[in-house]
């Protein structure tokens, strides 16, 4: 019966299809341009080191860094693994804890009043300043690092999810009330899905922050031995003036950061692409 309306949907679908061609062109550019830029920078770097005869303890050539990455892989790889473990463990606990606490906060005014000031205090205090204290109280350095990374990653998840839960469409809340939905039904069928985009934004921030905090805390801890992460290897390379290795460690850290950002962005895109505005490509 709704010929008029339905025909309206067809041009909409066609509209989506048309830009796809130019979009894939744009996508190729999006990959190629940064790659060309990277090649140019590395080339410039290699040329500069060679042309001005820069000693390797000041600025090693890209080739030397690559060589160090390969040769020192047993050490650096192990360190990377340690850092990754701390980062992801902290992130996982932050995600679960952040969501659970956010749900509690919006259920009860009392809990919110009692807890939120302390959440803010935790957030605004620089993690390097609390790290020494945590190192004293924690049973092991690993646990201390985990706690540090968790504190930092936790807050964006909590605050984003809380905001998402609070901004549920009130008409939809009315609708649920009208049909006699239980609080649990309202939570799982309405509030949590509505908060998902906010939560995912929090996840993207938390992923990067967890890595940063894991590294910063390790700097503060300055631990040594078998359980050392990338931060310790960085410091160690600096003491020993092993600058190629320092660069290699830095490179790994950067790559990890980018990978985490990419992965969280991808997860976010995949979860929202069917329905959320942020995941819709628009020409204008």
């Amino acid at each position: 019966m709704s010929q008029l309306d339905q025909s309206g949907a067809v041009p909409a679908a066609a509209e989506n299809a048309a830009p796809a061609v130019s979009l894939s062109g744009e996508r190729v550019l999006r990959v190629i341009v940064p790659l060309v830029m990277l090649a140019a920078l590395v080339g410039l770097w290699a040329w500069y080191v060679q042309a001005y005869n820069i000693p390797k303890y000041i600025l090693p050539s890209p080739a030397l860094v690559a060589q160090s990455l390969v040769n020192d892989w047993p050490i650096l790889g192990a360190a990377l693994l340690v850092t990754l473990k701390i980062t992801f463990a902290a992130l996982a606990i932050a995600l679960v804890g952040g969501v659970v606490l956010a749900v509690l906060l919006v259920q009860s005014k009392w809990i919110e009043l009692a807890i939120s000031p302390y959440m803010v205090i935790l957030q605004v205090t620089p993690i390097v300043a609390i790290a020494p204290l945590i190192l004293i109280y924690a049973p092991s350095t690993q646990v201390a690092l985990l706690v540090c990374a968790w504190i930092v990653a936790f807050f964006p998840v909590l605050s984003n999810t809380t905001q998402g839960l609070k901004s549920t469409d009130h008409n939809l809340l009315n609708l649920f009330e009208l049909y006699g939905a239980s609080p649990l039904q309202t939570l799982f069928l309405l509030k949590l899905p509505a908060a998902l985009p906010y939560f995912l934004a929090g996840l993207r921030i938390a992923g990067g922050l967890a890595l940063i905090a894991a590294v910063v805390a390790e700097f503060a801890a300055g631990s040594a031995g078998a359980g050392s992460g990338l931060a310790f290897r960085l410091l160690e390379s600096q003491y020993r003036l092993n600058i190629p290795r320092l660069f290699a460690a830095l490179l790994l850290l950067c790559a990890t950061g980018v990978a985490i950002y990419g992965a969280t962005s991808l997860i976010s895109h995949l979860m929202l692409r069917r329905w959320h505005e942020s995941a819709i490509r628009r020409e204008n």
Partner: protein, 272 residues
């Protein structure tokens, strides 16, 4: 200017299905949204609540639906079965001004929602969901997401969701106000056709004189500050109505009377 408004109460046709008795509503910020509103709606009626914005139309509708209580006065659903707690178990469908769909759920899942909340599984709900979607002409769009639909289609989904529980009463709060004229007319026609076919009771909030005359069997005119009923008129034109009615002198005459009534409703507030 203030004109004396003559109040022509019109008796409802059919057995009373919902009765507002001296309902007043004062919000916590002191706004008197409704003052002493009494209204009886009969089974099978199509009643429009017509009035300027802010006159308490939505508030009245929400109180009927049980979304928020009246400050004083009573709402009765005399023919509705009561549930265990003594509350009338209302067979009501509610349509908001916005489509109010869950953007993360497909059309099917949106329409399934009222049944799902009562424990009906996705498969068991299939027949009812699809027949509700068929009624609004969207059965082919069951797997679409709301954002893939036009404004009119979203509104149709919203109506299908209200119909899926097979309610006896449909409460609609300016459902088509945000749509363009052509889509709106189409939806009006479809709604009217469904109403003629199924014989629901419809309470339809609108601020459009033309819409209220075209659709209703009775128009209840409200004025603001405080929100109250100031006039009622019967639109005793036969159904089915269509272009013939919309272009008739009779229609024009009804519109003229409703407009006058609405004007005096607005005139009752000097500042407008």
């Amino acid at each position: 200017m203030s004109s004396a408004v003559s109040m022509n109460a019109v008796a409802p046709s059919g057995k009373p299905i919902v009765r507002l008795e001296h309902v007043s509503k004062t919000f916590s910020n002191g706004t008197i949204a409704l003052k002493d509103m009494s209204l009886t709606i009969g089974e099978g009626e199509f009643v429009s609540l017509l009035g300027p914005s802010g006159c308490g139309k939505s508030t009245a509708l929400r109180i009927m639906a049980g979304l928020g209580d009246a400050s004083t006065g009573r709402v009765e659903w005399p023919t509705m079965p009561h549930d265990a707690s003594g509350k009338p178990e209302r067979e009501i469908g509610f349509v908001f001004q916005e489509p109010t769909l869950m953007p993360w759920a497909t059309v099917y899942k949106n329409v399934w929602l009222p049944l799902r909340l009562h424990g009906v599984s996705k498969a068991a709900a299939r027949e009812r969901v699809m027949s509700a979607l068929e009624m609004v002409g969207l059965d082919k769009f069951a797997d679409s997401y709301p954002r893939e639909l036009s404004g009119g289609m979203k509104m149709r989904v919203s109506i299908a969701r209200a119909l899926v529980t097979r309610p006896r009463v449909l409460l609609m709060d300016e459902p088509f106000a945000a749509l363009d004229e052509i889509t709106r007319q189409k939806l009006n026609d479809d709604l009217l056709r469904l109403w003629e076919q199924f014989g629901w009771t419809v309470v339809f909030v609108t601020h459009s004189v033309f819409e209220s005359v075209y659709l209703s069997s009775r128009i209840v005119v409200m004025a603001a500050r405080p929100g109250r009923v100031i006039d009622e008129m019967e639109v005793d034109a036969p159904h089915p109505r269509g272009v013939a009615f919309r272009t008739s002198l009779e229609y024009g005459e009804f519109c003229r009377r409703a407009s006058q009534s609405l004007l005096s409703a607005i005139g009752a507030n000097d500042h407008l």
